[in-house]
Amino acid sequence: MLKHLTGSEIVCEALIKEGVSVVFGIPGGAILPLYGVLSKYPALRHILTRHEQGAAHAADGYARSTGTVGVAFATSGPGATNLVTGLATAMMDSVPMVAITGQVGRAAIGTDAFQEADITGATMPVTKHNYLVMRADDLGRTVHEAFHIARTGRPGPVLIDIPKDVFIEMGEYDPDESIDLPGYSVPGMADEAQIDAAAALINQAERPVILAGHGVVLSRSFDELRELAEKAQIPVVTTLLGISSFPEDHVLSTGFPGMHGMAYASLAIDQADLIINFGSRFDDRIVGDAQRFSTGSKKIHVDIDPAEINKTIHVEAPVVGNIKDVFGQLLPKVKKTTHVEWLQHVEHLKAEHPSLRIPESDRLMGQHVVKALSDVTKGDAIITTGVGQHQMWAAQHYQFKNANSWLSSGGAGTMGYEVPSAIGAQVGNPDKLVWSICGDGGFQMTMMELATVVENRLPIKYAIMNNNHLGMITQWQSFFYDGDYQAETYTGNPDFVKLAEAYGIKGIRVTSQDELESAIREANAHEGPVVVDFVIEKVDDLYPMIPVGQSIEELIEDPN
């Protein structure tokens, strides 16, 4: 049924038809006509953030934790450009998002008008697709296309830029119009020949390893992954973004590999005769020197994006398709088997290279904090992080019990992700416990969003891993710049407890190991949000470590 509506109404109706119930954003002149109709659509809950980057990361955290498309609004010019970091973060990690930005009126486009920015031009490299919509009649179709593109295939962010007068213009909206995108196809099942080739390699392998990437999480193939691993008794290494796709207390769970991953995970990959990669893009933080990456193994690469195949690592058996469908095709063809010797060897690697030994120290170390968080919450929380040492400790020491409970900026490595992503995760999962493990650096990049937390009564627990340093920078300068420390020490950090209190948030300070558990319990028991300032030791090193661009041969396990 054709509807005659204003552009703003069309946008809202199309969002609701897409199942949207929450949007994160900040208004401004060019997008005010859209805000002007929000009161007519109570089904759309608008959460006002304090910065557009926060809106974008919150939409990202919402999307990752719920599996639906996250939505952000921003105005033209600086509002729109403030979204860019959030879009780039989502793009690198294939997170489904739709951003709607206001633009100056059609007649003013291209005149350097007040608050004009060419946001479609600026975001081309950091979106899966983007649109500048010049007629209200095109709005409905565009919104539906944008959601289709964002959530299908390899997911990603899509931006829709709408001139102010297009929001106001009357247009026609046909909610039942079907999508016609001749240049866009969504891979489903893989070619049977590819499946057969992959199955044959799996059935012949003596030392197979599964590398489970973000694709397993994005396609929600947790059960299938487990079924395959158990059927053929294959150790499962998860990538940084694959963490929580496989239960970590499972005997086949073999950690995460790469630069700061577990040594045994990197060693298992190096010594394997077959790597079965499900939805990881062989990122350089895992591969290091591509020429020396697991040279003794054949490789199967299952990916929904054909452009990832042979991009960095040559593979013998490419399988292009939706991972969930591929598991369905592959499972009946994979023989039930045991790789007793190999599994014993992997167990041996785990024992020989514990990798997760927590430094013996009376002082409070980052590892102690994560370990205690993991123990007290029994691995049951949704964890979001920033980027740096604390992120690696979180990845190493939190024992995830639930699928898809790990939210971290892997590809872009965006500091500041920790504060707003937790907002998105908590809004999307009101009944779950959300702990954000923050760097003191990253926290200060987006801490203005504490106001958003308070306003929306979100019971998020923020754990600031306060080392008064850009710890990861300290570490790199120690390793790669002969200890020439520059711009890595903070001397002006605020009192985070007082800061929390200024927002009306409960603040707790922890300075010793003895206080750890009780503080975490106290935070968990508190109904509202909490900021815990964990004052931890500064360390120059984080092990294990494979230096950039190197291989397993250069692995530094723990010199102490």
């Binding site: 995108l181 042979n310 292009v320």
Partner: protein, 197 residues
């Protein structure tokens, strides 16, 4: 795949794209980001309404240029893309060459034009402009031969290419050397099926 003098590799890509504002910018942006160097580019409306055809010749390290078609295919505005480097294709380039030609030299130049079967499209008092189409080598040779008369302007188009419709190879003028055994790229289709293109 053709290796160029400086050790980089060339691939010929044919694409059918939406005829919309910004499409060329998207493609150019992708090429820039991924380090693909465009040696030539030809764009024009196609036989299908709303769609344009583009033929690119891209240059770069072998492993990089092999990715071009797959990366282009990710763009929503690219409807179809084929890496036709190793296919049996015919291709042509066009050049307009303005050469200095006073009355004394004109006869010699016209004779050359005749041998190369090119059209002379403009004759002035001091110069002469000819139009040549064909393979790159043929155009290069003519330009070399004309150089001694004094080249005033050389304007070359990018390559346009299409798959051969017959199995009979026509005149080899412009025919790209094909080596099917080297073809590794297969284009996945909507269903995830892959077929060689």
């Amino acid at each position: 795949m053709a290796e160029t003098a400086n050790g980089t590799f060339q691939r010929t890509i044919a694409a059918l794209v939406q005829d919309r504002p910004g499409v060329l910018a998207r493609i150019a942006g992708l090429f820039r980001r991924r380090g693909f160097n465009i040696a030539s580019l030809a764009v024009g409306r196609s036989e299908r309404s709303g769609l344009s055809r583009m033929t690119f010749v891209v240059e770069g390290p072998e492993e990089v240029v092999r990715q071009v078609a797959a990366q282009l295919d990710r763009l929503i505005d690219v409807v179809e893309v084929h890496d036709i480097t190793e296919q049996n294709i015919v291709w042509r380039e066009l050049a307009l060459i303005k050469v200095r030609a006073n009355a004394g030299k004109r006869g010699e130049i016209l004779e050359l034009a005749n041998i190369f079967r090119v059209n002379v499209i403009d004759i002035g008092v001091e110069s002469l402009t000819m139009e040549i189409s064909g393979g790159r080598q043929k155009i290069d040779s003519l330009i070399e031969l004309l150089r001694k008369f004094g080249l005033e302007e050389v304007i070359r188009t990018g390559r346009v290419a299409t798959l051969r419709g017959t199995l009979v190879e026509g005149e080899d003028d412009g025919l790209f050397q094909s080596d099917a055994s080297k073809s590794t790229y297969t284009l996945p289709t909507a269903t995830g099926e892959s077929g060689s293109v």
